[in-house]
Amino acid sequence: MKKPKITVGAVIEEPGSTIKNKTGGWRSFRPVRDKKKCTKCGLCWQFCPDNAINENFDVNYDYCKGCGICANICPFKAIKMVKEEK
């Protein structure tokens, strides 16, 4: 097996490389947005700790940990938390 390369001083050479780590697997509830109710106010985008909501307010399920802040903060109740099922 090839030994992993360890850099001098444990310098990490690739900026923003945690995107390799899909934290979406942590989720037990997924946020689902109702596009009819959404007014694009941007509150969900502002308060997402995981940058998992993009500029069009779509959820990136690769990274969403399912905390539910977006559903809770939405003044129009446009986001519902739905249980994840396999």
């Binding site: 990490i12 900026p15 945690t18 995107i19 934290t23 106010c41 940058n51 990274y63 940990k65």
Partner: protein, 302 residues
Amino acid sequence: MEKTIAGISTEEFFASGHRACAGCGVALAARHALKAAGKNTIVVTATSCLEVFSTPYPETSWRVPWIHGAFENAAAIASGIDRALKTLGKRKDTNLLVFGGDGGTFDIGLQALSGAAERDQNFCYVCLDNAAYMNTGIQRSGATPKYASTTTSPAGKIIHGKTEFKKPMPFIMAAHGAYVATANITFPLDFINKVKKGLAFDGPAYIQVYVPCPTGWKFANNLTIDIAKLAFETKITPLYEIEKGILTISRKPAKEIPVKEYLKLQGRFKHVTDDEIRDIQQHVNNEWKRLLELEKNKSRVC
């Protein structure tokens, strides 16, 4: 022109995939602080949750140059970077942002921070105040509020959580002549503006941002923003700035809300008695009165 949503830049310098708990306030504060600082920034982080969850080797969430040294020396590292940038003639176009947790700021990193401020070093220090050592297992710190139960101040028969009030860290930094501001993640734009102001300030700047921790404070992780908002509305964490020793309150809550509303949502306060709630309320009222007087008199806070 850069694209913004509700006045906040859409450029992200803090990548997804970090290992913060779901609903983490620290991750949110780091995201917004980086938006304020922008691309030409060097970040120093003290040992903290932020350091651990953002850089699990060999990965990093940071899209700007970033360095971690130890728990106590973030401000000392920043001092070195500040001097080096000055020598290289690059100080003007580089932002120097330092992150420390409340433990790494109020307790362990205080002497390095005090020294750097006394030497008038130029950087913006952001203290991520989640009111205990969350990363190592919720031990009490100088920032833990009175009566909060932590693993080293557990609520039981002998004590009812921590027995002391929070250290007045912003005033300690104001006494050093720093630009001081308190912020709350409920108001991201206010926080971003304060970080920008701190970075532009010629000298040390200290910004203490209030970041609820679902794991340590024991509340449901969708309530992070609600709790931060209640902390502001109940005046537990007032928002103010201190410039050249003069205090101005940035924002005042519209209505009176008793501290009980804030306490009852959190498991760390579930043991508090009515007498203890009165004690907390009394303390909050006195502090608020003192702030109003300081603002009214326009006298130097220290």
